[in-house]
């Protein structure tokens, strides 16, 4: 599963059950984020015991992007049998500010910053 454009690259590594998000995500809204939401949902439907989000190269994310990430976290929380780890970068300022809110939605979510 993969979505690649000039601005961003989303891919799923089935071996490590890792969703990799790279680049800049500032899409107009739910319509434009729909293919990414579909990829996320397909991963969740496979019900791996752990989903890792690697955001270490996600330079920019707008509030609509924060929304779809949060929606997915809530969806996984409702499943109860899937753990989530989010890997962020200390060098990307927005991540230190915004990713911690995801733990408010799902307290068992692990945040790892490198």
């Amino acid at each position: 599963m993969e979505i690649k454009t000039a601005d961003y690259h989303i891919s799923y590594d089935i071996g490590t059950t890792t969703i990799n998000c790279k680049g800049k995500l500032r899409l107009t809204g739910m319509d434009e984020y729909a293919p990414i939401v579909q990829l996320f949902n397909q991963v969740v439907e496979q019900e791996p015991s752990l989903i890792t989000f690697n955001l270490q190269q996600l330079q920019l994310l707008n509030s609509s992007g924060i929304n779809i990430l949060s929606k997915l976290i809530i969806k996984v929380r409702q499943k109860k049998n899937i753990k989530i780890v989010i890997q962020g970068s200390k060098k990307i300022p927005w991540q230190g500010k915004s990713l911690k809110n995801l733990q408010r939605l799902m307290p068992t979510l692990q945040l790892q910053f490198e």
Partner: protein
Amino acid sequence: MIQLFGDFKEEPVNSEEYLELGFSPSSMPLKQQWRNNGRSADFLGDYLTNFLPIGETDESNNIDKQAEIKSAVSYIANELLENAMKFNDETSQYHITIKVLLHKEHIVLYLTNSVSPQNVSIFQVYLQELTHSDPHELYIKQLEHNAQDENGMTSRLGILTMINDYMVKLGWKFETIRLKQEVTVVTTMVQFSV
């Protein structure tokens, strides 16, 4: 008639540096305008860092302070422009303007756009709720609401993420301007400390 909401303050008269950009909403297709938002926001962030001290580190997270402020200006400006593009009154031909000012120990952004009469009251009801609620609780409540709303097209998170993640002060000024016809214009003010 002028109506104020939140912590709106007029522009300080003795700003150290400022930059203002203007956009004609109908001059290009929405998708192209949207891409422009990001470029413009990043440019504002880049421009302002020319006037910030080099080499300071934010001790709480070890990030270069310049990079942190540039990122904050870029995020906030982009969200303001996105809101303006979404809610601008297309019939008015009124330019959207964004201004960023560096003033002693804080940065202030002003975004002005026109608003259609039907959207004015919807927006003002939202601002009444926002300015009389705990924004941190409102943020989580909005996220939970969005998760249940399969058909929702907008996230309504732009302003809430600014408050939660960037500790900004926000204010709004509504005023009626007469051009060829009467137009309601709203100026959104965002202020944060550096």
